[in-house]
Symmetry: D2
Subunit: 141 residues, 4 copies
């Protein structure tokens, strides 16, 4: 995983929920996948867009690939920050990268990325709407 | 909660998943809610219906009320059986009752019920389709 | 469900996550159960306690009963507020009540309650620690 | 991703749960992560072991890396089969590989792998217990 960029990172912070723990006493590894998605939602909100709107316009960003590396364990009740940025954008796809960190001391819990392809309502691969691609490209690294 | 009936109960059995545990070392209480729903799906399958089809026909059974009583804790890896039956049916709503038990020794983990109202695609309360109501009424207690 | 009290309600607000939706296009009914729990966590935090600490001291508050009434559907990306208060407290158990509302217009999505019994590390029902019971009683209605 | 091996694959089959869908009308991408874990549990069961026992002996297999490629979308109510095998084993870690397929027509929904490191109760990286490593090595590819 490359180093995170210096700019255009969007952060969102929340408490670990009890339901997100497992019997190891730590956050279950699937919970981070949901957090990354929330980081992505926040990226769009912070850039004046909403993924809900994209769907209303007839497009979805289907997840085509996901990778997560687990470095340290987060625990119930602590605050965690998801840092999200656009790694790359092409005509039909986009890659977001992530870090989940402890906002108090910077400990990195996980790093990861997700790749998405743009589909229309019929489920066919299609080009990202121009405005969306322009935004993603402008903010990518 | 009344005693379960003697007939028309549908059972489905599966292993507890690791993700369903929490840091108490037992199954998280929200996981049972998902299991009850799977018991409901199995009830429909076993009676020759599919909830997926009902939705394709333009109806949904929205949950209007849920109650669960937690008696014993299920744990990772053990097998659990969801027992589901129709408690009552009216023109616009239906109530399913449940038990989640240990199939080996009959220990009851939870009991519960869910009430559902029938909505059309516009989100309006509507009558259950005749065939569905007939089936539910025939099997209810 | 009684009316919510005028005081000692603790609120926590967050965005609906995409993973919390289902194919009805609305928030899945089990997701609210997780939100109520987060409301409970926030109640403790706001009152200077942490449920994590209670567990470290050797106690758990096991859920013994849960009821939720679903009035309106929340949707992806909107902000929701969980309102939580202590309804009653006894030597060995406590009941929390909840509302989940739209912070913009006050629409009530769900109301509910959860009952909890205090267990020690051996899994035996036990009295709430004095300091905890005093706090809960002082804030109850 | 390499081709799956011809032998030592363990399969487990179940219905897609309604709660596992999202508002795209398909299975949410985080649900597959839970399914892979259940495939892993089944691998151990089928080989006469239980992950629950490993934990009782004082060890955990913490997830250190996860990758999933999403090829086709699974949907509510259909049956899906998780195929799991040991890709490689070392003294302190093990990699499981997976496919999730449609048992009726062989459609591949996702492929993926997870890497795990062995930790003792103190959270320190440690060698896999001999019996466990021998089993995993014997069955690996």
């Amino acid at each position: 995983m490359n180093q995170p960029p210096q700019t255009n990172i969007v952060e969102t912070t929340f408490h670990v929920r009890y339901a997100e723990t497992d019997q190891m006493g730590i956050v279950h590894h699937a919970a981070y996948v949901v957090w990354l998605e929330e980081g992505r939602s926040q990226w769009l909100r912070s850039n004046g867009r909403s993924y809900a709107k994209l769907e209303q316009e007839g497009f979805v960003l289907a997840v085509s690939e996901l990778q997560v590396r687990y470095l340290q364990s987060a625990r119930y009740d602590q605050r965690v920050t998801v840092r999200c940025w656009v790694e790359s954008v092409q005509s039909r796809q986009v890659q977001f990268n992530y870090e989940v960190v402890d906002p108090q001391n910077g400990t990195v819990f996980v790093t990861g990325y997700s790749k998405h392809i743009c589909l229309n309502h019929a489920g066919q691969v299609t080009k990202l709407p121009d405005q969306w691609r322009a935004l993603l490209a402008e903010k990518s690294h």
